[in-house]
C-alpha cells in the first residue's frame, strides 16, 4: 500500500519532465501508476472476500500517536478498483485526447496522478486523521485540475467555488472526526466502526459534521452547484473526478460510517431528505441542459443522491444495491464523459442543438455511448439495471411510511434518468432535422437562454462539421461500457464479492443481485419507469418549454455568490474596526491590556512588602537622579540633538547604577554602547530636520501621559513585588563553581555568556547579524554593501565633507598639502596627483587625511586619533582575552574596536574608514557567527555536546603556562559580530550618506526642516549646483 502510494508520488513528480521529454505518449507511462493499484487490488480479491485483507502500519509521529495505517476491506477494495481502473483508462485516453502542443500538459499529468494517489490513500487509510489528510489532498489537487485553464475566468471561478465548498465541508468533517476519535478513545477507523460510541450529544454533532463533509464532497443539495460549474475542467478530469473518483469520496465516507450510525435518527433524516432531494433536482435540471457535459453533470448529481441514499439507508439489502450502483455508475458515467469528449473532439462543440449525424459518422463511439446509456437508464441486462433492480427491491421492503416515500422518489428519479439518458444519446448521435447554426445560437442565447430546439430552428441551419478523432479515444469508453454489460451477466459473482461489506450492517435481510427474478412487482415498476421516462423523452420540447417558464426558485449558485459577497463585506467591516492602521493605537491597546491584566492582578492578589531599603549605597541616589531627570527632560525636548544628548546622559547614569549593583561587565558594556549609540544617532540626525514636528494635539498628549504613568506605576509595582517573590533557589547558585570547573574562567558573567548559556548568546549574535544586514539593506537598497573606499582611489579634488565655502582658503598655503578652493565650493587642485607620493604621505598623521576638504581637517584631532587608535585596538584585544577572568569579553572588546573605527572615521572621513578596516562587514559577521557556531559543533566531533568547552593547559618555554579554553573562540566570534555591526553602521549610515550628500542624491538635512513634504527637493538639488551645506555632527 505504502509502495503504491510511493509509486504514485514518484510518477507525479517525474510527470512534468516525462511529458516534456516524451510528449503526450508519456500518459501511457503515467497510467501504469493507477493501473498498478487496480491490479494489486485484484490480486487480493479472494483474501479480501474472506475478510483477510492486507493491513499495513508505519509509525509517523509517535509522540502524537499518529500512524500511517492502511487496510483493505471490501469497500476499500471496490473503491481501489474504481479509482485505479478508471484512472488508468482516463490517462490512456489523455494520450490521444489532447493536442500535442496543448498547454500545461506536464502539470496536468503530475497533478492527475497525484490526485489518483490521494484518492487511493483516502479509501485505504485506516486512521481517521490520515483519512482527513488524503481527503484534503484530493480537494487541493482537484482544485488545480478544475482550474486547469487558469487563464479562463469561468475556470478559475469554478475551481475556487469547488475548493471553498469542499474545504468548508472538509473542515467540518475534521471536527467530526476529532470528536468521534476522542469519544471512541481511538483514531483507528476500523476500531471506531466496530465499536462506535453511541447516544451522546457529542456523537450526534460528530455525525452531522461528518455528513457535512460527505454532502459537500459528493455535491448533494444544497451544495450541488459546484459540480456543474466544475465542468469547466477538461473532459478527462470530468470523467475521472466528477464521475468515478472525487465525488465518490463523499459516498465512501457515508458507506464507511453507515454500518455504525445508519440507525441514528439524525443520520436517517439527513441522508433520506438530501438523497431524495438531490436525486430529483439533478434529474429535473438535466432535462433542460443543451451542453452534453452539463446534462451528464446534473445526471451525476442525481445519481450521487441515489447512491448516498441507498448506502446510507442502513439495511443490508440497500447497502448491497448501493455498492453495486457505485461500481456501475463509475463505469457508465466515466464512459459517457469519455464519449462526450470524443464528440467534442470530433465536432468542436458539445451543444446538442448543433450536433447532427454524429452517430452515422462515428459508429463505434455511438455504440459505446449507447451501451453506457443503457446501463445508466437501467435497461436489462446491464449493470445499472441489476443495481437499480436490487435497490428498488430493497427499498420496497423498508417500513412505511419512510419506505414508501423513498420508493416513490427513487422511481420518479429513475424515470427522470431514463428521460435525460435518452435525450443525451439522441442529442449527441442522432441525425436531427433542424440544427441551429452557431450565429443563431448566440443571438438566441442572449435573448432567451431556454429556447428549445424547434423554436430556435433555422432554415439555413447547418450542423457542426465532423472529423474522425483517433480510435484510441473510443477504446477506454468502450472497455468501460462493455464491462458494464459483462459484470451484469455474472450478478452472483458481484453479490459474492460485495456481500462481506453488506454483512457489516446490523439490520435487515441480506439482499441479492440477480438478472432475472421473475415477474415481481419490482420488475413491473422498472417497466413503468422505463415507459414513463420514454414518454418524458418524447415530449422533451414541451418539458423544456415548461421548465423555462416555470419558476425555479432562488438558484443555489446565486445564493452562494451573494453569501460570499456578504462575507467579503463583513470582512471589510471587521477590518475597518479592528485594523485601523495606526501604530500608536495598536501599541496603546497592547499597553492597556498589560496595565489591566498585570496591574489588576497585582492590586487584587499580591501582598506588597512592608519593609523597604531606600538605597544600597547613597551614590545610587546620584545616578538614579541623573537617569530620572534626563528621562523627564527627554520627553519635553523639541530639538532632536538635545533629546539624544539627554538620552546619552541617562544611559551613562545607568552604567553607574549597574556598577553600584555589582555588575562591572554591564557598566562597561553600557558605557561603550551608549557612546556608539550617540554617534549613530548623530550620523542619522544630520539628515533629519533639527526639530521634532509640532503636533498640537493636546488631548492625545494627556492620554499618552496617562497611559505612560499607568504603565510606569504597574512596572514599579512589579519591581516592588518581584525581589521577594522568589520561591526557588536561583539557577545560578552553582554558577561560580561551575564556571571555574567546566568553563575554566573566573568572570562568571562572561563564562555564562560563552559557555553555560552559550545557546542564548548565539541567538543574540544572530539578531545582531540580522540587524546589521537590515541597516545595510535599508541604506544600500540593492546591495549588501558598497565599495570599500581606499585612500589611493580618492578624487584628487579633496571633496569629502566639502560643500560649504572654505572661509580660511586665503590663509592656506597654496599647493603642497592644501588645495585652492573656488567660491562655489568646487575644489580644483589639478597639480596634485591622485596617489600621493610616499614622501608626502609620510608627513600625514592619517593615511586618508588628505581626502578631506581642508576646512574639515583638524590637526589636533588627527594626532590624537593617530596616537589613540592602536592603543584602543590593543586594549580591545586585552579585553577579549582577559574577559574570561576579569570584566570584559567579546561584547566589550568588539565595542572598543568599533569605537576605534568610529574615531578614525570621524577624523578622516570615509576613505580613512576604508583604510582602517578594508573588509566588508558581511565577512566579519559571517566569520563571527561561523566561529561561534562552527567551533561549537567541533565539540560534537570530540565526543562532547554542542558548544561544550575544553580546557587546555599548555606549558610554553618562554611565555609560561598557557590556560586555553575553547570557548575563547566563541568569544572571538562574538567580537567579530559586534565589530561587523559597528562597521556596517559606519559604512551605511556614515560613509554612504556622505557619498550621497556629495553627489547630490540626497538633499541635505536643513532643507527639509519642519517636515515639509516636497517632491521637487531631490530634483532641485540634483539639477542645482552643489549641496548648500553640511550640517554635520562632527566636532
Amino acid at each position: 500500500m505504502l509502495l503504491l502510494l510511493a509509486v504514485h508520488l514518484a510518477a507525479a513528480v517525474v510527470a512534468p519532465a516525462l511529458l516534456n521529454w516524451m510528449g503526450r505518449k508519456a500518459f501511457w507511462v503515467l497510467a501504469l501508476a493507477p493501473a498498478s493499484a487496480a491490479v494489486w487490488a485484484l490480486t487480493w480479491t479472494s483474501q479480501v472476500q474472506a475478510g483477510n485483507g492486507p493491513v499495513e502500519q508505519l509509525e509517523w509521529i509517535p509522540v502524537l500517536g499518529l500512524e500511517l495505517t492502511f487496510r483493505l476491506d471490501t469497500l476499500s477494495w471496490l473503491m481501489t478498483l474504481v479509482v485505479g481502473g478508471v484512472g488508468a483508462l482516463v490517462l490512456i485516453y489523455c494520450a490521444a485526447y489532447f493536442k500535442s502542443s496543448a498547454s500545461g500538459l506536464g502539470r496536468f499529468g503530475g497533478v492527475f496522478v497525484a490526485f489518483s494517489g490521494s484518492m487511493l490513500g483516502l479509501v485505504a487509510a485506516d486512521d481517521l486523521l490520515l483519512m482527513f489528510v488524503f481527503w484534503e489532498l484530493t480537494t487541493v489537487t482537484s482544485y488545480v485540475l478544475i482550474g486547469h485553464y487558469a487563464e479562463r475566468k469561468a475556470s478559475r471561478r469554478a475551481a475556487m467555488q469547488a475548493i471553498v465548498i469542499t474545504t468548508a465541508g472538509g473542515l467540518a468533517m475534521l471536527v467530526g472526526l476529532v470528536l468521534l476519535g476522542e469519544a471512541a478513545g481511538t483514531f483507528r477507523l476500523s476500531e471506531v466502526i466496530a465499536d462506535p460510541p453511541q447516544g451522546t450529544t457529542t456523537v450526534t454533532v460528530a455525525i452531522v459534521c461528518l455528513l457535512a463533509g460527505a454532502v459537500t464532497k459528493s455535491a448533494l443539495i444544497p451544495f450541488h452547484f459546484w459540480l456543474p460549474a466544475a465542468m469547466a475542467a477538461p473532459t478527462p478530469v470530468s470523467a475521472y473526478l466528477h464521475a468515478a473518483a472525487m465525488v465518490k469520496a463523499g459516498v465512501y465516507l457515508v458507506a464507511r460510517f453507515a454500518p455504525a450510525y445508519s440507525t441514528t435518527p439524525v443520520w436517517q433524516w439527513i441522508v433520506i431528505s438530501l438523497g431524495c432531494g438531490t436525486m430529483l433536482l439533478g434529474g429535473y435540471r438535466a432535462l433542460r441542459q443543451h451542453d452534453l457535459k452539463l446534462i451528464l453533470a446534473f445526471g451525476t448529481v442525481s445519481q450521487l443522491g441515489l447512491i448516498v441514499l441507498l448506502v446510507g439507508l442502513g439495511t443490508r439489502a440497500t447497502a448491497l444495491a448501493g455498492l453495486a450502483m457505485l461500481g456501475a455508475h463509475a463505469m457508465f458515467k466515466a464512459a459517457l464523459f469519455l464519449v462526450v469528449g470524443v464528440v467534442d473532439a470530433a465536432t468542436g462543440t458539445r451543444d446538442l442543438r448543433r450536433l447532427s449525424g454524429v452517430g452515422r459518422e462515428l459508429k463505434l463511439t455511438a455504440l459505446a455511448g449507447a451501451l453506457a446509456t443503457a446501463s445508466m437508464i437501467g435497461l436489462p441486462p446491464f449493470a445499472g439495471y441489476v443495481a437499480k433492480e436490487a435497490g428498488l427491491e430493497a427499498v420496497g421492503h423498508l417500513d412505511a411510511p419512510v419506505g414508501t416515500i423513498v420508493l416513490v422518489a427513487v422511481a420518479v428519479g429513475s424515470a427522470l434518468t431514463v428521460a435525460y439518458g435518452l435525450r443525451l444519446w439522441w442529442g449527441a448521435f442522432s441525425t436531427k432535422p433542424a440544427v441551429v447554426p452557431e450565429a443563431v445560437v448566440e443571438s438566441a442565447e442572449s435573448t432567451a437562454p431556454g429556447t428549445s430546439i424547434h423554436e430556435a430552428a433555422h432554415d439555413e441551419a447547418e450542423p457542426a462539421r465532423i472529423t474522425h478523432p483517433s480510435l484510441l479515444l473510443v477504446w477506454p469508453a468502450m472497455i468501460l461500457a462493455v464491462l458494464g454489460l459483462a459484470v451484469a451477466l455474472l450478478p452472483q459473482l458481484g453479490e459474492h464479492l460485495l456481500e462481506p461489506y453488506a454483512a457489516t450492517y446490523p439490520e435487515g435481510e441480506p439482499g441479492h443481485l440477480v438478472l432475472w427474478a421473475g415477474l415481481t412487482p419490482t420488475f413491473v415498476l422498472t417497466l413503468a419507469i422505463l415507459l414513463a421516462g420514454a414518454l418524458l423523452f418524447l415530449v422533451r420540447d414541451r418539458v423544456e418549454r415548461w421548465q423555462t417558464a416555470a419558476y425555479h426558485g432562488p438558484e443555489a449558485d446565486r445564493v452562494y455568490r451573494r453569501f460570499m459577497r456578504r462575507l467579503d463585506d463583513v470582512a471589510a467591516d471587521v477590518t475597518a474596526v479592528t485594523q485601523r492602521g495606526s501604530l500608536p493605537l495598536y501599541l496603546g491597546l497592547i499597553l492597556i491590556v498589560f496595565v489591566v491584566a498585570v496591574g489588576g492582578t497585582a492590586l487584587g492578589s499580591t501582598v506588597f512588602p512592608t519593609q523597604f531599603t531606600f538605597w544600597d549605597n547613597p551614590a545610587q541616589l546620584v545616578f538614579a537622579a541623573g537617569t530620572i531627570v534626563s528621562a523627564l527632560l527627554v520627553t519635553r525636548a523639541r530639538r532632536r540633538l538635545k533629546a539624544v544628548i539627554l538620552l546619552g546622559i541617562g544611559g551613562y547614569s545607568m552604567a553607574g547604577l549597574y556598577l553600584l549593583h555589582g555588575a562591572p561587565d554591564l557598566a562597561l558594556t553600557q558605557v561603550l554602547v551608549e557612546t556608539v549609540t550617540l554617534v549613530v544617532f548623530v550620523l542619522v540626525l544630520r539628515r533629519l530636520p533639527p526639530y521634532f514636528s509640532d503636533r498640537p494635539l493636546a488631548a492625545s498628549r494627556w492620554v499618552r501621559l496617562g497611559l505612560g504613568v499607568a504603565v510606569g506605576l504597574t512596572v514599579a509595582g512589579i519591581a516592588l513585588v518581584a525581589p521577594s517573590a522568589r520561591i526557588h533557589l536561583p539557577v545560578s547558585t552553582d554558577f561560580a563553581q561551575e564556571a571555574v570547573t567546566f568553563g575554566g574562567g573566573k568572570n562568571i558573567v562572561n563564562v555564562t555568556l560563552v559557555d553555560i548559556r552559550a545557546w542564548d548568546t548565539m541567538g543574540e549574535i544572530s539578531v545582531l547579524l540580522v540587524a546589521a544586514t537590515g541597516v545595510a539593506s535599508l541604506v544600500f537598497l540593492s546591495r549588501r554593501g558598497g565599495a570599500i573606499y581606499r585612500a589611493d582611489e580618492a578624487r584628487v579634488d579633496r571633496a569629502v565633507w566639502g560643500g560649504t565655502a572654505d572661509p580660511m582658503a586665503a590663509l592656506r598655503r597654496p599647493g603642497g598639502d592644501s588645495a585652492a578652493v573656488d567660491a562655489g565650493g568646487m575644489v580644483a587642485d589639478r597639480d596634485e596627483s591622485a596617489v600621493p607620493s610616499s614622501a608626502s604621505r609620510g608627513r600625514e598623521w592619517l593615511q586618508a587625511g588628505r581626502t578631506l576638504a581642508p576646512q574639515r581637517r583638524s590637526v589636533i584631532f588627527e594626532v590624537v586619533v593617530r596616537l589613540l587608535f592602536h592603543t584602543m585596538i590593543v586594549y580591545s584585544v586585552y579585553l577579549l582575552f582577559s574577559g574570561h577572568n576579569a570584566p570584559g569579553g567579546g561584547f566589550a572588546a568588539g565595542l572598543v574596536t568599533g569605537i576605534a573605527l568610529i574615531v578614525r572615521y570621524l577624523a578622516g572621513g570615509r576613505y580613512e574608514l576604508g583604510e582602517a578596516a578594508p573588509v566588508q562587514p558581511g565577512l566579519l559577521l559571517g566569520l563571527g557567527l561561523f566561529l561561534s557556531a562552527g567551533v561549537g559543533l567541533l565539540a560534537l566531533l570530540a565526543g562532547g555536546e554542542v558548544l561544550q568547552s575544553w580546557i587546555f593547559d599548555i606549558h610554553l618555554p618562554v611565555i609560561g603556562d598557557l590556560h586555553l579554553v575553547t570557548s575563547l573562540f566563541f568569544d572571538i566570534g562574538v567580537y567579530l559580530v559586534v565589530v561587523g555591526l559597528v562597521l556596517d553602521i559606519l559604512r551605511s549610515l556614515g560613509a554612504e550618506i556622505d557619498r550621497r550628500a556629495e553627489t547630490g542624491e540626497d538633499p541635505v538635512g536643513g532643507d527639509a526642516a519642519g517636515g515639509d513634504v516636497d517632491g521637487d527637493v531631490p530634483a532641485q538639488v540634483a539639477a542645482g549646483a552643489k549641496p548648500a551645506g553640511w550640517d554635520g555632527g562632527v566636532p
Partner: protein, 161 residues
C-alpha cells in the same frame, strides 16, 4: 528580601517616560522611547534578580557576597541588542526621510482606505469570483473547449445539405 526604593522609582519613571514617547508619531521619538523602556527593563531585571552585591568574579569576591550573575549575562546581551535595534530603526528613519522627507509613522493608507470604503458601504475588494455571474452555465460551457487533438481531416456530410 526588601526592595530598593530608589531603583523602583527609577524603573517607574523610565517606563512612564518611555511609553509617553513610544506613543508618538515621530520614529526618532518612538526609538528614544524604546531605549528608555529598554533601560528600565534592564534595571528591573537586575532588581528582580536579587540584592546588590559585589562583582561576580571568583577569587575577587567571597562567594556569599556576589550579585547574581545570570540576570547580568542576559542584560548584557540585551544592551548590545538594543544597539543593533537602534541602528536598524535609525536606518528606517533615514529611509523614511529619503522617501517622504520626514520620519513620521503615518497611518497605513491601505487600512484607512478599507475603513473609508466600509463606512460608505462600498466594496473594499474586487473579487470577480463572488460577483453574480452574468452568463448562464450553458454559455460558460459553450466557451469552455479543451485543446483537443485535430483528428482525421474533416469530411462534409452529404445529405445534410
Amino acid at each position: 528580601m526588601s526592595p530598593n526604593i530608589v531603583l523602583v522609582v527609577t524603573i517607574g519613571v523610565l517606563f512612564a517616560a518611555g511609553v509617553y514617547l513610544l506613543l508618538e508619531r515621530s520614529l526618532s521619538r518612538v526609538l528614544i522611547g524604546v531605549i528608555l523602556i529598554g533601560n528600565g527593563a534592564n534595571l528591573l531585571f537586575l532588581v528582580a534578580g536579587g540584592a546588590a552585591g559585589r562583582p561576580p568574579i571568583v577569587g575577587a569576591t567571597p562567594e556569599g557576597q556576589m550579585s547574581d550573575p545570570l540576570p547580568q549575562a542576559m542584560v548584557l546581551t540585551a544592551i548590545v541588542i538594543t544597539l543593533g535595534m537602534t541602528a536598524f530603526l535609525l536606518a528606517m528613519a533615514y529611509r523614511s526621510w529619503q522617501l517622504h522627507r520626514h520620519d513620521e509613522v503615518q497611518d497605513d493608507v491601505e487600512d484607512r482606505n478599507i475603513a473609508r470604503l466600509a463606512a460608505a458601504n462600498e466594496r473594499a475588494t474586487t473579487d470577480a469570483d463572488t460577483e453574480v455571474a452574468a452568463e448562464t452555465l450553458d454559455e460558460e460551457a459553450a466557451e469552455a473547449r479543451d485543446e483537443t487533438d485535430e483528428g482525421a481531416p474533416a469530411r462534409v456530410l452529404e445529405g445534410e445539405r
